[in-house]
């Protein structure tokens, strides 16, 4: 008899708890729950309408951050847009065998993990060449864009524009994201200059590289390495989110840097197809036009000048 009661007890306890919790939470969230849930999560996996109409094409999942303006972002209407998205849409049109789907993923480390485990085929991150990326992923032979780099300095240090000068002056760099292309530039410099290395630490938050603007302006760190494409928009532009620091800071691009779509290691065919289209778009001047539209200047031209 006692055993039967206990058996019934556990089942009924579980059901009662579940029901109470369900009712509790439903009661406090109300009818809004499902609607808000659907709205908020909708952009995460919803493919753009153009991609669903292609038939027989292999679906390619491309993961990117949803608020990486002007590179890739989800606009107020829930649609993906930005420089890399526009370039990819042009490539998608030219490749009938593939259909591109854009997926929201908001942590860079996590997005790269997704590509290496096969959940996604391509990751967008304004990616620079790094040896680790080249070894573990497919980097198309043709770059997707150009992102010339330079040092952000307080105006009193404006004459320090190269990594060599920063190392000589003993400047301390703001913390860098492990595995990131910007960090790789510093690591590569230190590999080549072991006698006078740059001073920096590793950290993790996604907002680290934009936080660095304020860190340098406020004097917490001496300098940071930064893409020219973003500096123009964030600091120089009058409506830039960090324009308040414009008078305190100076920036000069000195390092040429091509960017790549990072493709899964076993997707060589896809990588080659994308690379071929990137070559064509570069040749006919389309990439430059798209870049000027989003960045306000031609980063390819600046990159080429710096490369000389």
């Amino acid at each position: 008899m006692k055993k039967n009661i206990l058996t019934g007890k556990t089942v009924a306890v579980a059901l009662s708890l579940s029901m109470i919790l369900g009712l509790t939470a439903c009661g406090s969230s109300g009818a809004q729950t499902s609607k808000a849930g659907a709205d908020a999560s909708a952009p995460a996996t919803a493919p753009a309408p153009a991609q669903t109409e292609e038939s027989g094409a292999r679906n390619i999942k491309i993961v990117g951050k949803s608020s990486e303006y002007p590179l890739e972002f989800i606009d107020d209407n829930g649609q993906w847009d930005g420089y890399e998205i526009e370039v990819l849409r042009l490539i998608d049109e030219a490749l009938p065998q593939y259909s591109f789907e854009y997926v929201e993923g908001n942590d860079q480390t996590s997005n790269y993990t997704g590509v290496s485990t096969g959940k996604y085929q391509v990751v967008l991150s304004n990616a620079f060449y790094t040896e680790e990326r080249a070894a573990n992923f497919n980097l198309p032979a043709n770059p997707s864009g150009a992102s010339p780099l330079g040092l952000i300095q307080r105006t009193e240090n404006a004459d320090i524009t190269s990594l060599e000068q920063a190392a000589q002056a003993g400047q301390i760099f703001s913390p860098s994201l492990a595995g990131d292309g910007l960090t790789y530039q510093l690591e590569e410099y230190n590999r080549q200059h072991p006698d006078q290395p740059l001073s920096f630490e590793y950290s993790d938050p996604n907002s680290l590289w934009t936080d660095a603007i304020a860190f340098v302006a406020e004097g917490r760190y001496d300098t940071t390495i930064f893409p020219a494409t973003y500096y123009e928009q964030l600091v120089t532009a009058e409506d830039g989110s960090y324009h308040q620091y414009a008078d305190k800071l100076s920036f000069k691009a000195t390092i040429p840097c091509p960017t790549y779509f990072v493709i899964a290691k076993d997707e060589t065919e896809l990588s080659d197809a994308i690379s071929e289209q990137l070559g064509k778009l570069r040749e006919d001047g389309t990439l430059e036009k798209v870049a000027i539209k989003w960045y306000g200047f031609n980063p390819f031209e600046l990159d080429a000048e710096l490369d000389k």
Binding site: I5, S28, K35, A40, N106, T210
Partner: protein, 249 residues
């Protein structure tokens, strides 16, 4: 310093609050499935089978030792690989919210098995025996004697688990879930994180009242489940007061 402005706090607050629906969705689903898993684990632990007991304890230990972010990544990236083949490929099509619910159901399963064990064992066997001895049936004894006491014992722990889940679940922004934190990060990213401090203040203003509300709600449930305790307390107070008055008189 980043400027903290009321305008931006309101912007992040109003922009993120609608995503509470997503937060509630994973909390409700994870609590339901977690409780079912927890009940199974409790049954295994309390059974006479040593193997079942060992497996249940192993499950609880493994889950307890795994940080929730690690578990989230293991489920999101590892589970489809583990399943493999076509089923694994189909799993890749699941919405992110499903992976989040699976992760936290696994988590809640471990903790709820302990909550259930504590709740059941805290009710003395004599309570059920007393119910049966006065002629109640097994179900009646459970419904009117043991269940209210068990729920009352479990309620503080359930409340803590729900509150913990709301906060732990926010980690799911890393895999692209737009719950409250994910939505706030999205809005902040749109502004290149220039007003991140305002965003964090707005998040605090969402999480604080929510947690306080839940605390009160579960305390109210606990009181509602044991009305005799309040009556008993009132009666005891009255007796003390009367006794005091008599003594004084």
């Amino acid at each position: 310093m980043q400027k903290i402005t009321l305008e931006k706090i309101i912007y992040f607050f109003t922009g993120s609050v609608p995503a509470l629906g997503v937060t509630f969705a994973y909390v409700i689903v994870s609590m339901i499935f977690g409780t079912i898993i927890g009940t199974g684990l409790y049954r295994m632990k309390s059974s006479h089978s040593k193997v079942a007991g060992f497996l249940a304890n192993l499950y609880v230990t493994v889950v307890r030792c795994t940080p929730s972010l690690v578990m989230l990544f293991l489920v999101f990236y590892g589970l489809p690989l583990l399943v493999g083949g076509e089923a694994g490929a189909r799993m890749e099509e699941w919405p992110i919210l499903t992976f989040v619910c699976v992760t936290f159901s696994i988590f809640i399963g471990a903790s709820s098995s302990e909550i259930i064990r504590a709740a059941v064992e805290a009710v003395p066997a004599g309570q059920a025996e007393a119910g049966l001895s006065v002629g109640l049936s097994g179900m009646q004894t459970f419904r009117y004697v043991t269940l209210p006491q068990m729920l009352k014992n479990a309620m503080p722990n359930i409340g803590n688990t729900v509150i913990l889940l709301i906060k732990e679940g926010a980690l799911a922004y890393t895999i692209g879930l737009r719950d409250v934190l994910g939505q706030a990060y999205y809005l902040s990213g749109r502004e290149m994180n220039a007003y991140a401090v305002s965003m964090y203040i707005a998040l605090t203003l969402i999480y604080w009242p929510l947690t306080i509300l839940l605390e009160h709600l579960f305390a109210a449930f606990e009181r509602a489940l044991t009305p005799w305790e309040r009556k008993g307390k009132r009666a005891a107070l009255r007796r003390t007061a009367e006794g005091g008055a008599k003594y004084a008189g």
